[in-house]
Amino acid sequence: MFRTLSIIIFLATFLGIGICCLIFPCSKECRWGPLAILRRAMRIFTMLFLEQKLSLVGALRKLVYLLALLCFLVLAITSFYPVLVLKEPIHGYWLMLHATFAPVFAICLAVLAVMWAGNCRFNRNDWPWLTRIIERVTLAKRVGDEPSDTAPGLGRKITFWLIVVLALPLILSIISSMFLLFGTYWQELLLDIHRYTALAFAIVAIVYTYLMIRAKMRE
C-alpha cells in the first residue's frame, strides 16, 4: 500500500508543479524553446553558487541549505528507490548510505530551523483577510512597521514550518526504535510512522524547493 500511495502522491506532486509552471510562468516572456529551457536550467544551477553580496552568516546559511539539499536528495533516493522501483525494503548499501547521511541532514535541519525561523514568521501581510476579520472583531489597531519585501512568500513559509514540524516525528520515530523501549508491535508502528512521515516530508520539501526556485528566478 505504501508503494502505491507513494507513486500516486509523487506523480500528483510533479504533475501539479508542471501545471503550475504552465499556468503561472515565472516571467511574462516565458519561452519553451530548448535554448530558453537550457538558459533557465543554467540559471537555476548558478543559484547554487554563493552570491558575492552575502554576509558570513548568509553564506553559512546558504551552504547549510545546499548541504541539506544534497542530503535530502541522497536520503530520498536511498529510501524511495528500493521501495518504489526495486519493490524491496531498504537494505544493504542503500541502508548504510541512508544511515550515513541521516545525521548530517538532521544537523542541517536544526541549523536551518534556527537560522530561518525568524524570516519565516507569519505576519499580517500573509493573511490580509484574517487581519481584516480580527480588526473588525477586536477593534485592535495596526501597530509596527511593514514587513520587509525580502521576506519569503506565504507558500514558502507554510512549507518551511511543515518541514520543521515533520522533521520531529521523522527523526524521533527512527531514533526511539533504537532504544530498548518498544517491542515488535511498536517497532513496526514506528517504522510505518517514519515511512509515511518521510513521504509527507519529501513532498513538502519538493514543493518548498520549487517555490524557492520560482522566487529566485523572479528576483
Partner: protein
C-alpha cells in the same frame, strides 16, 4: 426369444454385480473407502490411558500372525509388535509416520535434517546417507549398503521399521534375513515409560542381528540370549536345533514368570505422553570441545526447564505424523497442529503458557525477523570465535556402552554455523565436511561402493595405526593421488576424492589437482535445540553481540575438517555461509561504533527543532492572547 431373455438377464446381473468389483484393491475394498479403524485408532475422548493387559503374538515362519505366546511354551518366540500392538492400532497407518517412512518414496522429505553418517577412518570416509531425498545426502545403496546392512549399522538409534522391514534383493542375504527376521517398529521404544526399557540393549541386539528379538529383549519383562549373527545359514529360529559349537548360543528370549496372568495375558506399561528420556536416547548431543562443560554443568532446553515435555510440541495422532516444528512445515505436513506448533505459532497465540511476542524484542528492528530464524538468536550454544566439535546420538552412538568417548572420534560434526537456509533466513546449523571416494561424470559426483574402496585404498595406509582417539589417520596428498590411481583401474568413469570442500582428481598430465566443487560443500542441518532463555539470547546485551567487526556471528571461524594433513588447520569465515558480502557485513558492523553518536546528535537536533517550534508557537499564542485581550 428365450435366448434373448437369458442374455438380457445376464446383462442386467452383470450391470449390477460388476461395478462392485471395479476399482477395488486387492482386499476387495474400493480405494475411496478409508482403511478400517481399529479399536485403538480412534479416541473415545477419555484422557485416561487404557490398561494394556493383552495377549502377545509372535510372527510365524510365514511372516503372519503366530499362536498366542504362553509362559510355558516349549519354544518361546519374541512378541511381534505388528501382531501384538497391531491388533488394536493400525500398524500400516503408524508405519507411514515420520520416524518410519524414510524409505517411502511418496513421503514428503521436509526440511533437510541430520543424515546418517557412514564413517571409515581407514579410507578417509565420512559420508552423509539418507533414504530421504535430501540435498547432498546419498542413498545407502549408492555406497553399496543394502537395507539389511543399513539396519545393522544404524538401526541402533531408530525405533525400528523403515529400512528394517524392507526385503532384501541380495540373494546372499535371503537366508540371513530368515534367521534375523525383520526389525519391526518398536512401539515400546517410545511408549514404554518403565525405567527398565533398555534402548542400549536394543542397540546390542541389532548389532547381533537379533532383529526379530530386539523389541522384546529391550523391554522390562523379557531377556535375551544368543546371537543370530553366529548362526549358520541353515539355522531355523522357529525350530531351533542344538548347535555343535558350544560357544555359539542360538538367539532366544525368556519372559519373567510373573509377566503372564492366568490367561497368558501380559501387562504392557504404555503411555501416550512419551517421556523425554525416550526421545533423548536418539536425540541427544554434546559439545566435545576441550572447554565444553560436562553434561551436568550444561543447562537443558528452556522449554523443558519450564515443565514442558518434548511431545507437548512434537505431537502426532495415530498416523505418527509427528510435528518437527520448523517454519513453513504446515505447507508440507498434514498434521493439524503444524502451523501452531512452531516457535511463532506458540508465541503469538500464547499456547502452553508461552510468553507473547507482541511486546517482546524491545529495540530490535523488525527486519531481523525477515532475515533470521528464531533459532538464530535463541538456540544452540553461544557462538564462539571458532566452531566446536559436537557429538550426536545418531552419529556417535551415544548412550551405548563401550563407545569411544574421545572428543576427536569420527564423524567430526561442527557447530554452531550460521548459514542461510532454503527459505532465505539465517539459522544456526550443525555441519560436517563430507569425505569420500567417488566418480565424476558431467560435474555430478557419485560415491564409489565402500567395499571397493576398502579393498583398493585401505592398503595405502595399512602401516599406519588407527589413532585410539578415533580421529582421522594421517592422509597426505600423495596418499590421495595413489588412491585415485589405484581406483581408476578398477572403476568406470573418472575417480575423484572429496574432502574439505574440495574435489581432488588426477589431471591429464597425471598431476593431482584440487578445486572447490558443489559436491564437496559441507552438509548442514538446522539446530533447533537447546533453546536458551530470552535473557541469554543473542543481542540481549547490545547490538554488538552480532554487529561488531569481530563478532562470531559474521566473522567466526568455521573449521575445515579433513583427513588430509595440509587442510586440517584451515578455516572459513562464517559470513561465507550466509551468501552475504563480507565487506558490507564488516562496514555495517563498523558503523555501530558511531551509533551512540547518531543517537545523541539526532536527539540533540530534535531538541533544537522542538525548541524552535515551541518558541514560535508560544509567540503565536502570545499574539492571540493579546488580540483577545483587546490590545493592539
Amino acid at each position: 426369444m428365450k435366448k434373448g431373455l437369458i442374455a438380457t438377464v445376464i446383462l442386467i446381473l452383470s450391470a449390477l454385480v460388476l461395478p462392485a468389483f471395479a476399482g477395488t484393491d486387492s482386499s476387495g475394498r474400493s480405494p475411496s473407502q478409508p482403511e478400517e479403524k481399529l479399536l485403538g485408532d480412534e479416541s473415545d475422548g477419555s484422557r485416561a490411558v487404557p490398561i494394556h493387559l493383552i495377549p502377545m503374538y509372535p510372527e510365524n515362519e510365514d511372516g503372519e500372525k503366530g499362536f498366542k505366546i504362553a509362559g510355558d511354551d516349549d519354544i518361546l518366540l519374541p512378541f511381534s509388535t505388528r501382531w501384538t500392538c497391531g491388533a488394536c492400532h493400525s500398524y500400516a497407518t503408524v508405519s507411514k509416520g515420520w520416524h518410519f517412512n524414510a524409505v517411502d518414496a511418496n513421503a514428503a522429505p521436509g526440511r533437510p535434517g541430520q543424515p546418517w553418517i557412514l564413517v571409515d577412518a581407514s579410507t578417509g570416509t565420512q559420508i552423509p546417507l539418507s533414504y530421504r531425498p535430501w540435498p547432498q545426502a546419498f542413498k545407502p545403496e549408492q555406497v553399496g549398503l543394502t537395507p539389511r546392512q543399513f539396519t545393522k549399522l544404524f538401526g541402533r538409534h531408530t525405533p525400528g521399521g523403515g529400512a528394517g522391514e524392507l526385503e532384501s534383493k541380495n540373494p546372499d542375504e535371503f537366508m540371513r534375513e530368515f534367521i534375523s527376521g525383520k526389525l519391526e517398529i518398536n512401539c515400546l521404544a517410545c511408549h514404554n515409560p518403565n525405567p527398565e526399557q533398555d534402548q542400549a540393549g536394543y542397540a546390542i541386539q541389532i548389532a547381533r542381528e537379533n532383529f526379530r528379538w530386539a523389541a522384546a529383549a529391550s523391554c522390562e519383562f523379557a531377556s535375551m540370549s544368543g546371537s543370530a549373527i553366529d548362526m549358520p545359514e541353515t539355522y531355523d529360529p522357529f525350530m531351533p536345533m542344538p548347535l555343535n559349537d558350544p560357544k555359539k548360543t542360538p538367539p532366544g528370549v525368556s519372559y519373567r514368570k510373573d509377566a503372564f496372568d492366568e490367561d497368558n495375558w501380559v501387562f504392557f506399561d504404555i503411555t501416550r505422553k512419551v517421556p523425554n528420556e525416550r526421545c533423548y536416547f536418539c536425540h541427544s548431543n554434546m559439545d566435545a570441545g576441550s572447554d565444553s562443560p560436562e553434561r551436568w554443568a550444561a543447562d537443558e532446553d528452556v522449554h523443558l526447564t519450564a515443565g514442558l515435555k518434548c511431545v507437548d510440541c512434537h505431537r502426532n495422532g495415530v498416523e505418527h505424523n509427528i510435528i518437527r516444528g520448523y517454519e513453513g512445515e504446515e505447507f508440507i505436513s498434514a498434521n493439524l497442529l503444524a502451523a501452531t506448533s512452531s516457535c511463532e505459532g506458540c508465541h503469538t497465540m500464547g499456547r502452553l503458557g508461552a510468553p507473547l511476542l507482541k511486546h517482546a524484542h524491545a529495540g530490535i528492528p523488525p527486519v531481523h525477523f525477515d532475515k533470521l530464524s528464531c533459532t538464530a538468536c535463541h538456540s544452540g550454544p553461544w557462538p564462539g570465535e571458532k566452531t566446536i566439535q559436537t557429538k550426536t546420538s545418531r552419529a556417535h552412538s551415544l548412550g551405548i556402552a563401550g563407545i569411544n568417548k574421545s572428543p576427536e572420534v569420527l564423524p567430526h560434526i561442527l557447530s554452531v554455523v550460521f548459514a542461510k537456509q532454503s527459505n532465505g533466513k539465517i539459522a544456526p546449523h550443525k555441519m560436517f565436511w563430507p569425505a569420500f571416494w567417488g566418480t565424476i561424470k558431467e560435474e555430478k559426483v557419485t560415491p564409489i561402493d565402500l567395499e571397493v574402496v576398502r579393498k583398493t585404498v585401505r592398503n595405502i595406509l595399512a602401516k599406519q595405526r588407527l589413532p585410539r582417539s578415533g580421529d582421522w589417520r594421517v592422509f597426505t596428498t600423495e596418499h590421495i593421488a595413489e588412491g585415485l590411481n589405484l581406483l581408476q583401474k578398477k572403476i568406470e568413469g573418472k575417480a575423484v576424492y572429496v574432502s574439505a570442500g574440495k574435489l581432488y582428481q588426477i589431471d591429464n598430465e597425471g598431476e593431482l589437482t584440487a578445486a572447490e566443487h558443489d559436491a564437496a560443500k559441507p552438509y548442514m542441518w538446522p539446530i533447533a535445540h537447546d533453546v536458551r532463555p530470552a535473557a541469554q539470547s543473542l543481542g540481549v546485551r547490545r547490538c554488538e553481540d552480532c554487529h561488531a567487526t569481530d563478532a562470531p556471528f559474521f566473522f567466526g571461524a568455521v573449521a575445515v575438517d579433513s583427513p588430509i594433513v595440509s587442510e586440517r588447520d584451515s578455516s572459513k569465515e562464517m559470513v561465507g555461509f550466509q551468501e552475504s558480502d563480507r565487506f558490507y557485513a564488516w562496514a555495517f558492523a563498523f558503523s555501530f561504533v558511531f551509533r551512540p553518536w547518531l543517537k545523541v546528535i539526532a536527539l540533540g537536533c530534535c531538541g533544537i527543532i522542538g525548541g524552535v517550534i515551541l518558541l514560535y508557537a508560544l509567540r503565536a499564542l502570545a499574539c492571540i492572547v493579546k488580540l483577545l485581550a483587546g490590545r493592539s
